[in-house]
């Protein structure tokens, strides 16, 4: 993209335009109510038929610290973060100068006039707007005036970018729903902004929104809400949680949805139970208790919570109890950067707990996959009688993504190998941990089963096929080897990788989770800019299946692209392919782990640097 237009160029008459392919960043102070304004702006562009994505970069704080919201419009439907900002809306005095300094030449800056930013540099386009003054025309009440100042910038930006006023009005109505007074005030604010821009500002940047038809039928949703919906439509009944950013909104959305859609019509009672636990230890304990008793049960957490759940997860693995744990990853170690995104828990979650443990991990890349895995996770947990982790991240979980509408799950759910009283009556010599089917998965009974032989004793200590306490070496080995066999069975039961191979490609890319969107865009950049074709394998779950080895075998060099420091997925791939040392030499990494969502440009630059080291 070229953003060469400078202020002075306007007079020359040459007016290159950049249509539907740029980023707007709004810099504000958190707690100032800018979230509604940003949503309205984003939705208005969306309603113009232009693909959008929104990224909220916010501090771990309630009020008073800098926050940035980036809206990307992309005619090509790229929804990864765009590294460079094309238009800045500078509302925060604390960061305004730095924000302006970080722009590429030619960018546009809409700013609060009193900040006097126009002396910071002379190679960007400045649009001073007296927001605070203008807000006085809208309302007298000082607190509301601040909020409305934010809505005024939507009007200004809307006018500058040729966003239709009617679409902004529609977005406001959607945002504030039935609150007529709020709608009226906000529309008034928009008009003030629009009018000001029309009368006082001279358009001198190339950015424009033009109506397209690329968003019909699409939805805007965050991954946490999508995961909540997927769980609700796949029979979750017991939900436990302890609030932690960025996972809380998954359960909060779930509660909101279930209060509407999961109330028994006849009795008015809930077909679910939600408990806010005293900590993550209790949250996972409740999930295991419920899973043991036969419920589809989930909890949602993030890094610190995962660490706390470690002991119980080992019990779930060893005693073979279904559980679903959403890990909305954030930046660690320790408290880390609680409001920034990462894929830093791959290794620790895969092997969570002491002793020989390993777990099924699902890696959704999209909100649609969050919805889908809401069901897949339960099917796998109950089929394999083990904790299953859904490895989302802050970027996917909390940011707003455009997606096709979710498809209603038509297929029945898989409750796994559960023997009720009737089935048990037909079984000779049932043993809770006996591998009758040769797949490593035993048959279980639920507490409450009315059969004299149904009971067994669940324990995290050594046990034999009949769930009896044992310390005998051969019993222990037998159990551990069966668990390993069970894990092998899972290889071909979890969602397999998604392959996109290109004829003649010499290199392969491997990615997972939110890294996907940067890879999609980067592959286009590599092809268009460097004539470099790259095949792509997107991992959707652990354990791996054979497709991984086949993929790596095919290409000269294979790059694993991920958002952590230690190349965690690459390490697991190395373990997986250890029996083929010639493949290991092909593997290298592209890493991105500073807390911002990964972007295509960074990936492309790194890949080009590694592919053409001499240049």
């Amino acid at each position: 993209m070229s953003t060469q237009t400078l202020v002075g160029e306007k007079e020359s008459g040459a007016k290159p335009t950049v249509v539907n392919d740029f980023s707007i960043q709004v810099a504000t102070i958190n707690g100032s109510g800018s979230q509604s304004s940003n949503s309205v702006l984003m939705r208005a562009i969306f309603q113009m038929g232009v693909p959008v994505s929104g990224k909220n970069l916010f501090p771990s704080n309630i009020q008073g610290l800098p926050t940035w919201f980036t809206i990307r419009a992309s005619k090509d439907s790229y929804i990864a973060r765009k590294r460079d900002v094309d238009m800045l809306v500078a509302m925060n005095p604390q960061t305004a100068r730095e924000d302006v300094q970080s722009l590429k030449p030619g960018s546009a800056v809409v700013y609060e006039q009193s900040l006097g930013l126009d002396n910071v540099r002379d190679d960007v386009v400045f649009y001073p707007v007296p927001f605070a003054e203008l807000a006085k025309d809208v309302i007298d009440e000082p607190r509301l005036r601040k909020l409305l100042a934010n809505m005024i910038y939507v009007g200004v930006v809307g006018q500058l970018l040729s966003i239709e006023k009617e679409e902004i009005r529609a977005a406001i109505t959607k945002q504030f729903k039935a609150k007529a007074k709020a709608v009226e005030l906000n529309v008034k604010a928009i008009n003030v902004g629009f009018d000001y821009a029309e009368k006082k500002l001279t358009k001198a940047d190339p950015l424009e929104i033009e109506r397209m038809n690329e968003t019909a039928g699409k939805i805007l949703i965050d991954g946490n809400a999508a995961g909540a919906l997927g769980s609700m439509f796949n029979g979750v009944t017991v939900v436990t949680w302890y609030p932690i950013t960025p996972s809380s909104s998954l359960v909060e959305s779930l509660i909101d949805y279930m209060k509407v859609y999961r109330i028994d019509e006849k009795t008015g009672k809930a077909t679910f139970a939600v408990v806010q636990a005293e900590d993550e230890l209790a949250a996972i304990g409740m999930v295991l208790g419920a899973g043991w008793a036969g419920a589809r049960s989930l909890t949602s957490t993030s890094g610190p919570g995962i660490s706390l759940m470690s002991e119980f997860v080992g019990l779930g693995y060893f005693a073979e109890i279904p559980a679903v744990i959403w890990n909305i990853q954030r930046v660690g170690p320790s408290t880390g950067l609680p409001t920034r995104t990462a894929q830093g828990d791959v290794l620790s979650t895969y092997l969570l707990s002491h002793g020989d443990t390993k777990h099924i991990l699902l890696f959704p890349s999209s909100v649609a996959e969050c919805f889908e895995f809401g069901g897949t996770s339960f099917d796998l947990a109950e089929r394999f009688q083990t904790p299953v982790f859904v490895m989302s991240d802050l970027d996917l979980g909390m940011n707003i993504w455009m997606s096709d509408a979710f498809e209603y799950p038509e297929k029945p759910i898989d409750r796994g190998k559960v023997l009720d009283a009737e089935a048990l009556a037909k079984v000779d010599d049932w043993g809770r941990y006996k591998d009758v089917d040769g797949d490593g998965i035993p048959h279980r009974t639920l507490p409450g089963t009315n059969h004299p032989g149904a009971a067994y004793f669940t324990r995290g200590s050594g046990h034999n096929d009949y769930a009896e306490y044992t310390e005998r070496p051969e019993d222990y080995e037998k159990t551990m080897m069966r668990l390993s066999r069970k894990f092998d069975t899972a290889r071909n039961a979890v969602p397999g990788p998604v392959l996109d191979e290109v004829d003649g490609a010499k290199i392969g890319l491997i990615g997972y989770g939110t890294t996907h969107w940067a890879i999609v865009e980067s592959r286009d950049q590599l092809r268009n800019e460097s004539d470099l074709a790259a095949s792509y394998l997107r991992i959707r779950a652990l354990p791996f299946n054979d497709e991984l080895e086949a993929f790596v075998s095919k290409y000269d060099r294979v790059y694993v692209i991920e958002q952590n420091r230690d190349a965690q997925m690459l390490q697991l791939i190395r373990l997986e392919l250890a029996h083929r040392p010639e493949l290991l030499a092909k593997l290298s990494s592209v890493l991105h782990f500073a807390g911002h969502p990964i972007d295509a440009r960074s990936v492309t630059e790194e890949l080009v640097a590694q592919e053409y080291p001499a240049e």
């Binding site: 419920a290 509408a405 409450g448 004299p452 004793f457």
Partner: protein, 350 residues
């Protein structure tokens, strides 16, 4: 007080109302030390379940880690059991009962499991008033790790090695009353009659029933200088009241003199009969219950009996207003909203 059975069809002698023998409630042989108080409590549980006539398959036995937590293997072999992680049985029990409200949850824990590592989960269990019978087999000492003090060891009590406990004890009953348990009793493993009666009362109760049962550790804490020994217990036990229990299926008229005994109806229609002894005590008064506990602590008394009872407070399941059937086994059409629901949601996001 005299009791007369109105409806005589008493079940044949050796079986209960379900036609089950006491042997049907037994477990595996205990592996605890001979004479352990915990074994006595297991036996009382067998007796109480048998006499009350609970269907074994409806019971979920849950425990944490420690000597006490091993005991669910030693009673009710026909019930599902769950030996969880140390101090965290309450959360597992909570999940199990949420999943299946028909389960009769019996938690067995120890003083280390409850008052030290598990105190966080214990207090929140109390707050939630989960329907569960929560038994603390309290011996003031860690047995399985060979005799360290626990947080319920009394100030000044002595270990076999001569070490003196310098920290005050956690009073589990006080904690339970204060934080919302609705059936709080203290008893002594050496007083089986009282233990069985309090257990049966707890079965009839719908909410968190805490039974703090002093249970001597014959190996590490049964010597002179211990305040959790058989000798100390026998010499110092002082009954708050004489507790009687009438199950819902025995319609027995109890005649008693006003002021001598009090009859409290439990959730399932059973009754607890509290006969006055030395003191005038009303266990339905929370303020009085806390006062009694503070008094007995000051006077170094070992009071046993029903300390507190609240039959009105909602339990967690009622509070959450869940459907009457177990959530775990609701059919798919009741837990998967129709396609129109998803269409609604999708429309709102467009």
């Amino acid at each position: 007080m005299s009791t007369t059975a109105k409806q005589p069809p008493a079940p044949p002698k050796k079986v209960n109302r379900l036609g089950l023998a006491q042997a049907d409630y037994r477990g595996k042989p205990s592996t605890l030390c001979k004479g352990c108080g915990h074994d006595s409590i297991s036996n009382q549980l067998i007796k109480a379940f048998y006499e009350y006539g609970v269907e074994p398959h409806r019971v979920a036995k849950l425990s944490g880690i420690g000597c006490s937590s091993k005991t669910p293997a030693y009673f009710l072999s026909k019930s599902h059991g769950f030996n969880a992680v140390h101090g965290r049985m309450p959360s597992v029990a909570t999940g199990a009962v949420l999943a299946n409200r028909d389960l009769v949850a019996v938690g067995v824990s120890g003083d280390g499991d409850t008052a030290s590592i598990g105190i966080g989960q214990f207090v929140h269990l109390l707050r939630r008033n989960l329907p569960i019978v929560y038994i603390v087999e309290n011996n003031g000492v860690y047995g399985l790790t060979k005799g360290q003090f626990s947080a319920t060891a009394d100030l000044g009590s002595k270990l076999k090695t001569g070490v003196v406990n310098e920290l005050p004890a956690v009073d589990l009953c006080g904690l339970a009353v204060e934080l919302g348990a609705t059936y709080v009793a203290r008893s002594f493993a050496g007083d089986p009659k009282q233990v069985v009666t309090l257990m049966k009362g707890a079965f009839g109760h719908s909410g968190t029933a805490v039974l703090d049962i002093i249970s001597p550790c014959v190996t590490f804490n049964n010597h002179a200088g211990s305040t959790k020994s058989y000798t100390w217990g026998k010499e110092n036990e002082e009954l708050i009241q004489d507790v009687g229990f009438v199950p819902f299926f025995d319609e027995i008229d109890v005649d008693y003199d006003e002021g001598e005994a009090k009859k409290v109806k439990l959730h399932d229609g059973s009754s607890i009969i509290l006969k006055k002894l030395e003191r005038d005590y009303d266990p339905t008064n929370r303020r009085k219950a806390l006062e009694l506990l503070l008094d007995s602590d000051e006077k170094k008394q070992f009071l046993t009996g029903l300390i507190y009872l609240d039959t009105k407070k909602e339990n967690l399941i009622e509070l959450l207003d869940v459907v009457d059937e177990p959530l775990a086994t609701l059919p798919l059409d009741r837990v998967r909203p129709p396609k129109s629901a998803l269409d609604d949601v999708m429309e709102s996001l467009k």
